[in-house]
Amino acid sequence: MPDMIARYAEVVGPHTMDSLKIIADMLRGKRIVHVNSTKEGGGVAEILSSMVPLSRALGLDVSWEVIEGNPEFFACTKTLHNSLQGMPGGLSEGQVEAYAETSRLNALRLGGTLEDADYVFIHDPQPAALLGLLPGRRGKWIWRCHIDVSSPNRSVWRFVKKHVEGYDASIFSLPDFAQPLPHTQCLITPSIDPLSDKNIPLQKGEAERVYGELGVPLDKPVVLQVSRFDRFKDPLGVIESFRIARKHVDLRLVLAGGGATDDPESGAVLDEVQRAAAQDPDIHVLVLPPDAHRTINALQTGAAVVMQKSTKEGFGLTVTEALWKKKPVIGGDVGGIRLQIINRFNGFRVRSPEGAAMRIRYLLAHRWKRERMGVNARQYVLENFLITGQLRRYLSLLIALDSPGGEWERWI
């Protein structure tokens, strides 16, 4: 375990890790549990895959539980997810029942662990109802909302609010996402792990080899979007941008993604994307397994320009991953991307396929600016969006929750 700390220290500096250790020591002996809805696929699972081992390496007693559910439950939580991001519609009676029943079964299964914990992080709406089903809980419970709830479907938000207002605190990625709730609402941005397979530096030639294995020639610049096949990621808009840009510059488009076990809609979106890309030899749609982290690393490393043209985005981890690899990113001007991409500094924020196409052309035409933005991009992530910083903020929140009130500026 000290090896792991030493490896992080090589990236962020030894004294940054020393400080993190001091904060962690203040929570030594406390039991911390994270709960989410999938072990793999999607940003939450990725963050927890790194945060839990790092927390343990720092001497913390941390576990990670995953709720179980049937397809009806995940159809319900997908509706919740979409509606909280503003899509019209609501939950059917059957979905509400599936949510209640699945929550009850998970409360029975996880009750002992969760009631004994000193701190419980519940990630997103899927497991949110557990709090109300475990009256014997003794610790502090925190609801971590990873999605953009800046303008939710109100009836669905009321449903979620009923389940989360009893928490001791909630965490949102941006102030725009915070909603009126009767407890502290912290603002903490998600992060990436510089030591994960997805982000470690690759061996020379590895990116080229992976592109070759995937059947994507590197004979012209590659524009890449890595994301789940989800409408909010706007893969069809990316194809449109590519086609506009291609009238002026020769390039390839790679759309790479997979599904998450808690996302029943991804198959339908993938069908739409494949239809839109059919017969076009310069568009490559790659369906990757959830553990294809090193492949994604290679794709990002080998791309000339990376896109994340989302129309709603809590926080685009793929944006941060690409920035870390010194790639300027063209992202939708929404949600957390506004904090990740600073126009002309490390990429461009766009509002339309036409805007994205123009920025693709710009970046491909200005190699030195692309490289300069790439250097900025890496430094920006180093200072702001690494897992060590996110963990530091989470642990600070736990310490603050144990000493409520008092001065805003205080010694611990």
């Binding site: 500096g13 940054t16 102030p175 609402q185 920006y380 180093l382 200072e383 500026e409 010694w411 611990i412």
Partner: protein, 227 residues
């Protein structure tokens, strides 16, 4: 001098800034003025100082969030310049910073041009914070060790001593400068250099690089041995 047993060692502290939503959000200048008295004092701190600890780039045009918002959301560059001219470090405390802000906004609203009621294209969110400070246990006595320790200390620790130290000190001195005073005339130029860095013009990482560079020059010039 560096071996002098009477020297007070420098002890490195660190901090963690926990940011929280206040729920206060405004979309026009008039709304901003109306909300300002209700904002927690930590919110004033955050929008002037705490912003250094969030994703931030050196190219930011203005030195506080109120000024940035006036320009980028309201398109009122004149107000942004006035707000950015507030030197918060010259104020006696955060309430005085608030009062200065209110005065500028009042004067601007009195002029009554259309920008005072224009709705911004995005809201201003008042963000509050809790600053948790802790002792790292790291202590140095010699100048040579001090210089190395500043180079390797965390960005948050650097923020606490160098940026926030100026706010906490009645004379506006950062903690490094205050500690170096005990070395007398030998560190005078060094202290002047450290105090003359404009902390508003750089990101935190760049500021640290600059301070380390100043200390490095002093050390290479034999200052660490001769002071």
């Amino acid at each position: 001098m560096t071996e002098n047993a009477n020297l007070v060692p420098f002890r490195f502290m660190d901090c963690s800034l926990l940011t929280t939503s206040t729920g206060l959000r405004v979309q026009s200048l008039r709304e901003l003025r109306a909300a300002l008295p209700a904002a927690p004092v930590s919110s004033i701190y955050y929008h002037f100082w705490g912003r250094m600890l969030r994703p931030h780039i050196a190219e930011s045009e203005y030195n506080n969030d109120f000024a940035s918002w006036a320009d980028s959301a309201l398109g009122d560059a004149e107000l942004a310049e006035e707000l950015s001219a507030i030197n918060a470090a010259d104020c006696s405390g955060l309430e005085e910073v608030r009062a200065v802000l209110e005065d500028i906004l009042d004067a601007h609203l009195d002029r009554g041009d259309f920008l005072s009621w224009k709705k911004g294209d995005r809201e201003f969110h008042f963000i509050a914070c809790t600053k948790l400070m802790f002792d790292t246990g790291r202590e140095v006595s010699s100048l040579r060790d001090f210089i190395e320790a500043v180079r390797t200390t965390s960005l948050q620790s650097f923020f606490h001593h160098y940026i926030d130290g100026r706010r906490r000190s009645a004379e506006g001195k950062d903690d490094f400068t205050a500690w170096l005073e005990q070395f007398g005339a030998g560190t005078e130029r060094l202290r002047t250099s450290l105090q003359s860095v404009d902390t508003y013009l750089f990101s935190l990482g760049e500021l640290k690089t600059q301070v380390v560079s100043i200390l490095g020059r002093f050390s290479r010039g034999g200052g660490a041995e001769n002071a």
